[in-house]
C-alpha cells in the first residue's frame, strides 16, 4: 500500500505525481556553510530561528547584523546579510551608529552573555536608555564559551567553571545578572523577554519572540531584546541531551522565562 499523505494534494503534474508544497526549506537569510559551533550547541538553532524570522518578515535585503566577540564571532559568515563585526561588548554602540545613519534599515546585534552582560553593559544599558530602535538577540549559556568556559556574569550560583573551580560563590563572585528584567524598567525599551531552546515547544516560543522583537523594530517602538537560554555541552562537560536538561532544571529556575515588557 502506498503511504497515506496527510496533506491534501491540490494539484497533480501531467505524469500524475503530486506537486508538494515546501514546508521546510533552508532560509535565504542563512548561508549554506558549515559552522564552527560544537556538537550540541544551540547557537545553530538560534541562528536558524533568526534567519527564518527575517525571511518571513521579508526584510533580508534591508537587515544589517552586528556580530559579537565570543562564540558567535563568525556569525557574519553564517548569515546571508550585510554585517559587521564589533569589538567585545560594543555591538549596541556599533548598531546605534548604523541605525542612526540608516534609520530605514533593520539593525540587530547577536551577542553572548560575556559580551553583553559583562564588558558590554555600558553599551547595552545606554542603547536601551536612548531607546535605540534596534533588536538584540542575547544568547545566555552561563559561561564564556569561546575562551574555554570561564565564569560569566550569568553563571549560576555554585556553578563550577574553569575560573570558579570551587563553584560560583555569590558572597565572593556575586550573583547572576538578569538583563531583560533590568532593561524592562527603562522607557526606551519596548520589548524585553526571556526564552529558551531546550525543547521543541520552547524553540517555537523563542521563534515567536524573535519575530515580535523584529516587529517591534519595524514598528519603531524602541529597543527590543530577547534573551535566549542556550546550551554549552563542551564547557559544561555534558552530552548534548544532558545540556538541554541542565537548561531546564538548573538555568530556568535562576533565569525565569517570560515577558518582562511588551509594548505594541
Amino acid at each position: 500500500m502506498p503511504p497515506v499523505l496527510e496533506r491534501p494534494i491540490e494539484n497533480q503534474t501531467n505524469n500524475g505525481s503530486p506537486v508538494l508544497e515546501p514546508v521546510y526549506c533552508f532560509p535565504d537569510s542563512l548561508r549554506d556553510v558549515h559552522t564552527h559551533y560544537c556538537p550540541g550547541c544551540t547557537h545553530g538553532t538560534i541562528h536558524r530561528l533568526v534567519a527564518e524570522v527575517i525571511d518571513e518578515l521579508g526584510i533580508r535585503e534591508r537587515t544589517l547584523m552586528v556580530a559579537p566577540v565570543g562564540c558567535a564571532v563568525f556569525a557574519y559568515e553564517y548569515f546571508n546579510l550585510d554585517s559587521c563585526e564589533a569589538a567585545h561588548g560594543r555591538a549596541p554602540a556599533m548598531a546605534t551608529g548604523l541605525k542612526r545613519v540608516l534609520p530605514d534599515q533593520i539593525v540587530f546585534t547577536y551577542q553572548g552573555d560575556g559580551d553583553l552582560a559583562s564588558i558590554g553593559t555600558n553599551e547595552i544599558i545606554h542603547a536601551a536608555a536612548r531607546g535605540e530602535k534596534i533588536t538584540v538577540i542575547f544568547v545566555n549559556n552561563a559561561v564564556y564559551g569561546m575562551t574555554g568556559g570561564q565564569m560569566a556574569p550569568t553563571s549560576l550560583p555554585g556553578q563550577v567553571t574553569s575560573s570558579s573551580p570551587a563553584g560560583r560563590n555569590p558572597a565572593i563572585q556575586g550573583h547572576p545578572i538578569h538583563i531583560p528584567e533590568m532593561l524592562a524598567g527603562m522607557p526606551g525599551v519596548a520589548y524585553a523577554v526571556r526564552r529558551s531552546v531546550h525543547s521543541v515547544a520552547e524553540i517555537r516560543k523563542t521563534k515567536k519572540a524573535i519575530r515580535q522583537a523584529f516587529q517591534t523594530q519595524l514598528d519603531g517602538l524602541g529597543l527590543s531584546i530577547v534573551e535566549i537560554l542556550s546550551s554549552c555541552p563542551t564547557n559544561w562537560r555534558m552530552d548534548p541531551a544532558g545540556a538541554l536538561d541542565f537548561i531546564r532544571d538548573q538555568m530556568v529556575p535562576v533565569f525565569p522565562l517570560g515577558d518582562f515588557k511588551v509594548i505594541g
Partner: protein, 373 residues
C-alpha cells in the same frame, strides 16, 4: 571672501560640517567640549546625525558603525578620552573604514590637567591603538589651518579608507582667530562599493577586523602597509619659514610651530640667521624635506610641549643628536625662551663674552644622515 572671528573648536566643528560630515558621535571633555556643543545644534539643523554617547568608547564604536554604512562619520576628544577610543581606532584601521578624529590634546599622563600639551605625539603617530598601523596625522598651527585641514580630512579618509587625525592642543581649541570658512559642500549621495546598506540584489558585504588564519592576517597587514607606503609618498605636508639662508633651524609643530615663528623673527632682528621647519603631517613625517634642509644648517633645535617625542623622529631623520627645548604639564614656551635656547648666540654677544656658554655647536651638516624611505 568673508573673514570672521572664530573660536578654534567651533571653527573646526563648522569646517567638518562644511566638508560634508554626515554623523557626529562624541563625549564631553575639556578642552574640546565646544566642538560637541556646537555640533549639537548645527548637525540636527542640517538634518544630519548628532549623538552624545555614553562614553568615548561608545562614541568611537558608533562612528565605526556609521562609517561602516559608508557615511562621513567623525568624533572629537582630548587625551584621556582618546586613550579610551584606542580600541575602536584599531578596529577601524583594520577594517579599512574611513574615519576622522579630532584630538585637542591636554596635559598628561593620567588625568593630568586641561592645559595645552603635545604629549600625545607618540600616541597618535605611532599607532593610536594596538596593532601595526599609523593614522594619517595632521597638526595645524592656526585656527585657519585647522579649518583648512579639517576640510580635506574626510576626502583623505575616504581616498585611503583610513583613519585621519587632526591633532591640535588646548590653545588652538580655545583661541579666537579670524578665519575664512570654505563654502558648505553639497555631496552627492554616492555609496562606496564596500558600504553596508542591505544586501539588495548582491552578495552580502562584511566589515570585520577578524582574520584568524596567520596567512590571512599577514595578508591584511601587507595590504595596510602598502596603503601606508602610498600615504607616506603622497601626503607629506610641511612649512618652511625663512630657511633659505638659515644657519640654525628650529623644528616645531602645531601651536609651538607658530610660537617658534615669532622666535625666528626675534632672532633675525638680533642678527641671527634662523629658520623654522614645521611639519604639518606628523605621520607621514616630511622626512626628505627635513633631511635636505638639515644639510644646509649648522644646528637644529627641536621645541615641543612634551619631553621630546618628535625629537626622536628628527634625530632619526638627520642622523644625529639635536638640541631640544621642551615644556610640559601645560607650560608653553615663549619666543624669548626659544631664542635663548638657540645653540648659536649672536656674534656680538660671543665677541663680548668670549663664549656663548652653550653646548658645542653640533655641525649637523657634517653628519651622515639616514633619510627615511
Amino acid at each position: 571672501m568673508t573673514i570672521k572671528l572664530w573660536k578654534g573648536n567651533e571653527a573646526i566643528a563648522e569646517a567638518a560640517v562644511r566638508a560634508g560630515a554626515d554623523a557626529y558621535f562624541g563625549y564631553p571633555i575639556t578642552p574640546q567640549t565646544e566642538l560637541l556643543e556646537y555640533l549639537s545644534s548645527r548637525m540636527p539643523a542640517l538634518g544630519r546625525v548628532f549623538l552624545q554617547a555614553e562614553s568615548e568608547i561608545g562614541a568611537i564604536h558608533m562612528v565605526y558603525g556609521a562609517a561602516s554604512a559608508g557615511k562621513r562619520a567623525f568624533t572629537t576628544s582630548s587625551s584621556p578620552g582618546i586613550s579610551l577610543m584606542q580600541e575602536g581606532l584599531s578596529y577601524i584601521a583594520a577594517s579599512e573604514v574611513p574615519c576622522v578624529l579630532v584630538d585637542i590634546m591636554r596635559g598628561g599622563p593620567g588625568l593630568g590637567n586641561i592645559q595645552p600639551s603635545q604629549a600625545d605625539y607618540f600616541q597618535m603617530t605611532r599607532s593610536a591603538g594596538h596593532g601595526d598601523y599609523h593614522p594619517l596625522v595632521l597638526a595645524p598651527a592656526t585656527v585657519q589651518e585647522a579649518v583648512d585641514l579639517m576640510s580635506i580630512s574626510f576626502d583623505l579618509a575616504f581616498l585611503y579608507r583610513h583613519l585621519v587625525v587632526l591633532l591640535a592642543d588646548g590653545i588652538l581649541g580655545q583661541m579666537m582667530e579670524p578665519v575664512e570658512m570654505p563654502p558648505l559642500r553639497t555631496l552627492e549621495d554616492q555609496m562606496p562599493g564596500w558600504a553596508l546598506t542591505g544586501a539588495v540584489g548582491r552578495p552580502p558585504r562584511n566589515i570585520t577586523s577578524l582574520y584568524l588564519g596567520a596567512e590571512q592576517l599577514e595578508g591584511l597587514n601587507l595590504r595596510l602597509q602598502a596603503k601606508l607606503a602610498q600615504i607616506a609618498a603622497y601626503e607629506q605636508r610641511w612649512e618652511s619659514y625663512r630657511t633659505d639662508d638659515a644657519e640654525q633651524l628650529i623644528v616645531a609643530f602645531g601651536t609651538v610651530g607658530r610660537i617658534a615663528r615669532s622666535a625666528v623673527d626675534q632672532a633675525r632682528e638680533q642678527g641671527q640667521r634662523v629658520g623654522l621647519f614645521r611639519p604639518i603631517s606628523l605621520w607621514p613625517f616630511p622626512a626628505q624635506p627635513l633631511a635636505q634642509l638639515s644639510r644646509h644648517v649648522d644646528s637644529i633645535l627641536v621645541v615641543e610641549m612634551n619631553a621630546g617625542q618628535m625629537r626622536e623622529d628628527v634625530e632619526r631623520i638627520v642622523g644625529g643628536p639635536v638640541h631640544f627645548l621642551g615644556r610640559m604639564g601645560g607650560m608653553i614656551p615663549t619666543p624669548e625662551e626659544i631664542v635663548e635656547a638657540l645653540p648659536m648666540k649672536p656674534k656680538a654677544q660671543v665677541h663680548r663674552n668670549g663664549s656663548n656658554g652653550a653646548a658645542p655647536v653640533k655641525r649637523i651638516k657634517e653628519r651622515s644622515y639616514a633619510p627615511s624611505a
